[in-house]
């Protein structure tokens, strides 16, 4: 079930901003409204829903309205029109008291420039959300310590934020957001102020953290690589409008329009596409079949080798034409003669990591999933043509 549902959410900045709503309804562009009504459209009729437990990335360049959009979700910025439904309840209609409760209990936030309170210790920062709720001292200390431990800051609780490195400061921010155990965590360009290497670490850690705490995370970024790496789904924004929502693969492979296409064209595909994107259906044979059948199959399909897999698709090995002729001559089963030591990778192996393996072998690489199940094979040509930006089978096969 969707935890957040956003309907026709609109923010217009300027005097008496509501008069822009009918203009937007009539299809006036952002530029026309700016020129003729002297109003700035921040977010234009955004519509999406966020599932419980997913990482939903809102991405766009600066000025695209993504930071505004995320602030509409907890009403740090007051929406001009539309609805934000949290578990069916409209956040936009909440009175100040209800809104405060919602912010205290249900929705946490992590900020781009950390926004840590400089006069408070790391622990007191992590405690802040619980403190304003009136949680008693011993309990909030315990919960805040747990959150600090979760982000790997145990032992730093008595330091001041400015004694910590950038990456560690943002961990404090993360702990502060997690300490009161909200349903949703908003992360506004949370890693953008960090060094590239630390940033990668933090992305990785966020994914690990997410697998443990299972929060719904709304992550804002201007960095496509980051969006592709951590997003379950990505919403792409331009000029206040959401131009496409989809999984990272959908965005890459089927860009909704020229804008998205241009956006993704510079992506290093080798760091985004995985083995499952470029693999193809292997020619297979059951292990109980004889070598004569194998040779016939090879002739029919014009290949020089077959993958041996049982009826549950568990990969046993690779049978080449030479192996098959040998088995026929010596009257042995194909299980005795096939190659067992063949290169294999997981479906989520990045193409970048496939190169090395592929250069060391002349055999195709088998893609195996859980329980040694054969999913497909990758041949050199497919990898190269995928990197050239074409001939990627839609959504891969078998996935």
């Amino acid at each position: 079930m969707a935890i957040i549902e956003v309907k026709q959410l609109t923010k217009v900045f300027g005097h008496d901003a509501a008069r822009a709503l009918p203009l937007l309804e009539q299809g006036w562009s952002k530029e026309k409204i700016a020129r003729e009504a002297k109003l700035t459209v921040g977010v234009n009729k955004a519509e999406f829903s966020i599932e419980e437990g997913e990482i939903f990335v809102i991405m766009g360049l600066s000025g695209s309205g993504k930071s505004t959009l995320v602030r509409l979700l907890n009403r740090l910025i007051e929406p001009t029109g539309g609805q934000v439904l949290f578990k069916g309840k409209d956040v936009v209609k909440m009175n100040p008291e209800q809104l405060r409760e919602f912010r205290r209990k249900n929705i946490g936030m992590v900020f781009q420039k950390f926004a840590l309170f400089p006069h408070r210790s790391v622990l007191a920062n992590a405690e802040y959300g619980l403190e304003v709720q009136g949680v008693e001292k011993s309990k909030r200390t315990r919960l805040a310590m747990e959150a600090l431990e979760l982000v790997g800051l145990k032992g730093w609780e008595n330091h001041r934020p400015d004694q910590l490195s950038g990456g560690m400061q943002q961990r404090v921010g993360l702990a502060r957001g997690l300490a009161n155990d909200p349903d949703i965590l908003l992360m506004d360009e949370a890693f953008s102020a960090l060094d590239p290497l630390i940033r990668k670490d933090m992305q990785q850690e966020l994914l690990e953290l997410q697998s443990r705490v299972k929060k719904t995370i709304v992550f804002i970024t201007h960095d496509l690589d980051e969006a592709l790496r951590i997003g379950d789904r990505i919403a792409l924004m331009k000029d206040g409008v959401i131009v496409q929502i989809g999984s990272p693969e959908e965005i890459l492979i089927q860009p909704a329009n020229k804008y998205v296409e241009r956006f993704v064209e510079d992506v290093d595909l080798s760091k985004v596409l995985t083995a499952s994107h470029v693999m193809r259906q292997p020619e297979m044979i059951r292990p109980e079949r004889g070598p004569r059948v194998a040779l016939q199959l090879m002739r029919d399909s014009g290949v020089s080798s077959l993958y041996v897999a049982d009826n549950e698709m568990r990969l046993q090995g690779l049978l080449t034409a030479d192996n098959a002729s040998q088995a026929l001559k010596e009257n042995r089963s194909i299980l005795d003669v096939m190659l067992r030591d063949i290169p294999r990778v997981q479906p989520d192996t990045l193409l970048n990591d496939l190169f090395e393996l592929m250069s060391e072998t002349h055999l195709p690489v088998a893609v195996v999933g859980e329980g040694e199940k054969l999913k497909g094979i990758v041949i050199k040509g497919a990898v190269l043509s995928a990197l050239a930006g074409n001939a990627v089978p839609e959504g891969g096969i078998g996935s």
């Binding site: 740090l76 912010r103 946490g108 309170f117 802040y128 304003v132 709720q133 009161n180």
Partner: protein, 278 residues
């Protein structure tokens, strides 16, 4: 061109009369409270012998600052005592401390109000400009008519003259708190009061203290002016020396004020500067 003069002065006097007539009892209460505070502080300062108080202040100076300041405190205060100005100096100090204390108690909340409300700030700013630029002597006259002669109108005039920096810098300090921090406090569901006491005031503290320091200095500068309406103390010595053209006596009393000024300034400055290093 023979336009009639606008009776501005008449109007002010009319308001003054009206206030005295209808608010007399309130002025009496204020008079009693302020008078009590000044004599209370004066009594407290005179409770210990001069040498003991000197050493106490030196110890405080050493604790807050460095040994150099402690040394200055000892030499300076002993000089005041030696010149025979200890009693009047303590009287003046009592006046300054009372005026500063009240200015802070009134000024900080007003500064907070200015920071919270743009309207309030827009109203307050011209009034504060007026209060600071109007020659301080002018406050003495209505103060006297409301509170008669003595130290109380001196305190009142000092407060009016000295309060603007506290209000201004409290306002400034709170407004300077980074919007990101305020946003973070909001995002976690803080009430306005929680935001003020847990975030804005602690972060604005150095700026507020700078304002309080200014207020103390300004109220000290009122010591001589207050003596014109009968406030006792070292200011009265200066005033008398000036009116009798006694250069030496005037210089002695002036030095006493300078010593107190330097001590108050350094002590209050160091008090908040040493805090964040904890």
């Amino acid at each position: 061109m023979n336009l009639p003069k606008i009776p501005l002065g008449k109007g002010v006097e009319w308001i003054e009369n009206w206030l005295t007539t209808y608010f007399g009892p309130i002025f009496d209460i204020i008079h009693a409270v302020i008078g009590g505070m000044v004599s209370g502080i004066d009594a407290a300062l005179n409770f210990l012998p001069a040498i003991v108080l000197t050493l106490l202040i030196a110890a405080l100076a050493y604790w807050i600052g460095k040994w150099r300041m402690a040394l200055f405190a000892v030499v300076g205060l002993l000089l005041i005592d030696n010149l025979g100005l200890w009693g009047p100096s303590m009287q003046s100090l009592a006046l300054v401390l009372t005026a500063s204390l009240l200015a802070v108690v009134i000024g900080v909340p007003l500064g907070v109000l200015c920071a919270q409300s743009r309207t309030f700030q827009n109203i307050a700013t011209p009034i504060l400009d007026f209060m600071q630029t109007m020659p301080a002597f002018v406050y003495l006259l209505p103060a006297v008519s409301f509170f008669s002669l003595g130290v109380v109108p001196g305190v009142i005039a000092s407060i009016i003259f000295a309060i603007p920096p506290t209000i201004r810098l409290t306002n400034l300090g709170i407004r300077q708190v980074s919007p990101e921090l305020v946003e973070a406090a909001d995002a976690f569901g803080s009430t306005a009061g929680q935001k003020l006491f847990k975030l804005q005031l602690p972060i604005a503290l150095p700026t507020i203290m700078a304002g309080i320091n200014q207020t103390i200095m300004l109220s000290l500068s009122m010591v001589v002016i207050s003596s014109m309406i009968g406030a006792q103390g070292v200011g009265a010595y200066v005033y008398r020396a000036v009116s009798q053209a006694k250069t030496g006596a005037g210089f002695e009393a002036g030095i006493a004020i300078v010593i107190i000024a330097i001590l108050l300034d350094r002590l209050t400055q160091k008090l908040f500067k040493s805090k964040p290093q904890e």
